[in-house]
């Protein structure tokens, strides 16, 4: 099983530890992982800003990096969703194949690898932020709007971690307000949403906030730090690989 590791641009630049954890995790569960060296970005920042027509070059570059893998896996729900829905390229056959073979990390682990044990320990109170694009877009977890049985792929994995205490939030799947360029173009609302989201976690006495999207975590981290909080954020891959 040959896996192409897709590391979104801002994770590459600002959160290499998340990418390293993802790589280690995939290797640990037996995948043959490769990181294509010429990758940049999924094109989402332009597309969500209304400039999908400028993403051609980005898309072609993505396709030339990831064509031919059995699976493409990424530690980001929102970038994965973008590729799954919007990747088109000069080589459309390859693009179509990529769209059907790309997975967000937690869905790959639960649905494809079918992980049932993990040697991880994390003795802390943890709050899970269900990032919207992963949750509602990729359906990583049941959303509170629908009348349907609950499930959550990230929770399924966190439950395999020894000594981890997962807390229940008051609003279990409210958006944190990051929203890509929304976080700067609508700064007032974005920051207020982030503050409220963080407050829900703090009310329940968490030590860590985790999630499947570093972008949301980066936003909440910025708010926590501004408030001089000692609560930290960690991507789920970092927790799933944590040892004492």
């Amino acid at each position: 099983m040959k896996v192409g590791l897709f590391i979104p641009c801002y994770i590459d630049q600002f959160y290499p530890q998340v990418a390293i954890a993802t790589l280690k995790l995939l290797e640990k569960v037996g995948c043959d992982v490769e990181y294509p060296l010429q990758q940049t970005c999924c094109g989402q920042p332009m597309a969500n800003s209304g400039y999908a027509h400028l993403t051609g070059g980005c898309n072609d570059n993505f396709v030339s990096n990831f064509a031919g893998y059995d699976y493409i896996v990424s530690p980001s729900g929102s970038c994965t969703l973008h590729i799954k829905h919007h990747l088109h390229a000069t080589n459309e056959t390859a693009a179509t194949q990529i769209r059907s073979r790309i997975y967000e990390l937690t869905e790959f682990l639960t649905d494809v690898v079918k992980v049932s044990t993990l040697e991880a320990t994390f003795p802390y109170r943890v709050g899970l932020h269900q990032s919207c694009h992963g949750q509602r877009g990729l359906h990583l977890a049941q959303m509170s709007e629908l009348v349907a049985p609950p499930f959550s792929k990230p929770v399924q994995l966190l439950n395999l971690v020894k000594d981890l205490e997962l807390i229940q939030l008051d609003r279990r799947d409210e958006c944190c307000g990051f929203g890509g360029t929304f976080c700067v173009t609508e700064e007032a609302v974005s920051a207020k949403m982030g503050k409220d989201r963080v407050a829900d976690h703090l009310r329940h006495g968490v030590h860590y906030i985790t999630g499947v999207d570093v972008s949301c975590l980066m936003h909440m981290e910025g708010i926590l730090k501004r408030a001089n909080s000692n609560v930290q954020v960690k991507h789920i891959a970092e927790i799933l690989t944590a040892t004492l």
Partner: protein, 458 residues
Amino acid sequence: MSQLTLDHASASVEFNKNEPRVDWHDETLWFVRTKRDRAVAQIPEWEQLREAASQIKNHVLSNMHDLLVQFEENAKQNGITVHWAADGAEHNAIIHGLIQKAGATRMVKSKSMLTEECHLNDYLTQHGIEVIDSDLGERIVQMRKEPPSHIVLPAIHLTKADVGETFHEHLGTEKGATDPQYLTEAARQHLRETFLTRKVALTGVNFAIAETGGFVVCTNEGNADMGAHLADVHIAAMGFEKIIPRAEHLGVYLRLLARSATGQPITTFSSHFHRPRPGQEMHIVIVDNGRSRQLGRPDFRNSLKCIRCAACMNTCPVYRRSGGHSYHSAVAGPIGSILAPNLDMKQNADLPFASTLCGSCSNVCPVKIDIHDQLYKWRQVLMQEGYGPTAKTVSMKAMATVLESPRLYRMAGKIGRGVLRFAPVTVENRFNPWYNQREMPEPPAESFRDWYVNHKKS
């Protein structure tokens, strides 16, 4: 209405200056959303109901012409006069004409977002007709000369104290009074007098039934009935998308509407109007005002399925924290943001960006409108049509150039991280909107790629 309209982002900055008020607005609407969740969870077939509602509306959108003609025929046979209005101006003129014909100078009106969309109140006031809104929330904002901020809860942006102040000024209630019972009683007395003295009453239309030529108006206060039953002339204003094929389809929508709107099993009054009572005139004004244009846009046509329950607003985390007025459009929130650009792309180019695309709206919507996907699509249309700010277009082009070249991307990354590490003051300043209320991420010495090349290739 204020002349100077701020764009959504700037209006939200204003709204957020009073954080306790934002919290209160957010929590009140979240309470409604929670009530809705409890109500729909009691219906095991909820998702099938949504699907049925969506498919009936799909049928309507594909057979709009035939259904409207069928409705017109049946309504006429019932003794209702049917008028057609191409736009807001025609709608207003028709209604003005009917009031004049009745020899009236005053009218009572129940809730109708369509009349807001067409600015009917302003128009009639300018022509010397007095209009009183009889929905309590509408009446409150009307006294304050504000537009409604929510389609179901028009005065949700106001506190009890605001209402007390408004009633003190306009209805002579005691200064400082905030007791809801006392204030409601004052409004009731004032409205009762209105109902008894108006010869012309206007209502909206929630559902018009092609098969029977009748229509249904849903209210919680019974004010539409009071107005319509006491007046000599009943005018109903409807956007043409309110049509449904058959009476049997009503059950689907009545079950969905109130639960989605307020978490009630059904609205308190669902009044069926089929013909005028003896001696009364009944008119229905069927309005296009851009709807056929939207029907002609494949990506956006199913926004016309909307039954105006407002569930998408209550669930929208952006709406809850920016308030309805920030959308500067008769219909606010997620649905308003996909309807408004159809009415005026230039004026409303900011609205599809007033969203994180979290997708909650699409999944709460009882008729399954793909709201957040349409927001995404509107963004593409608006930027391609050139309604984006020049600075944004320039920076997006630069971004695209960097991100399509692995070499430029790595160079920019290195420089960016370097700047953040060694000269953070260049980005940690008040001109950087990120930094206003958040710290910047701490840049690492090496990117993941650098690490990978150093560690893996050995």
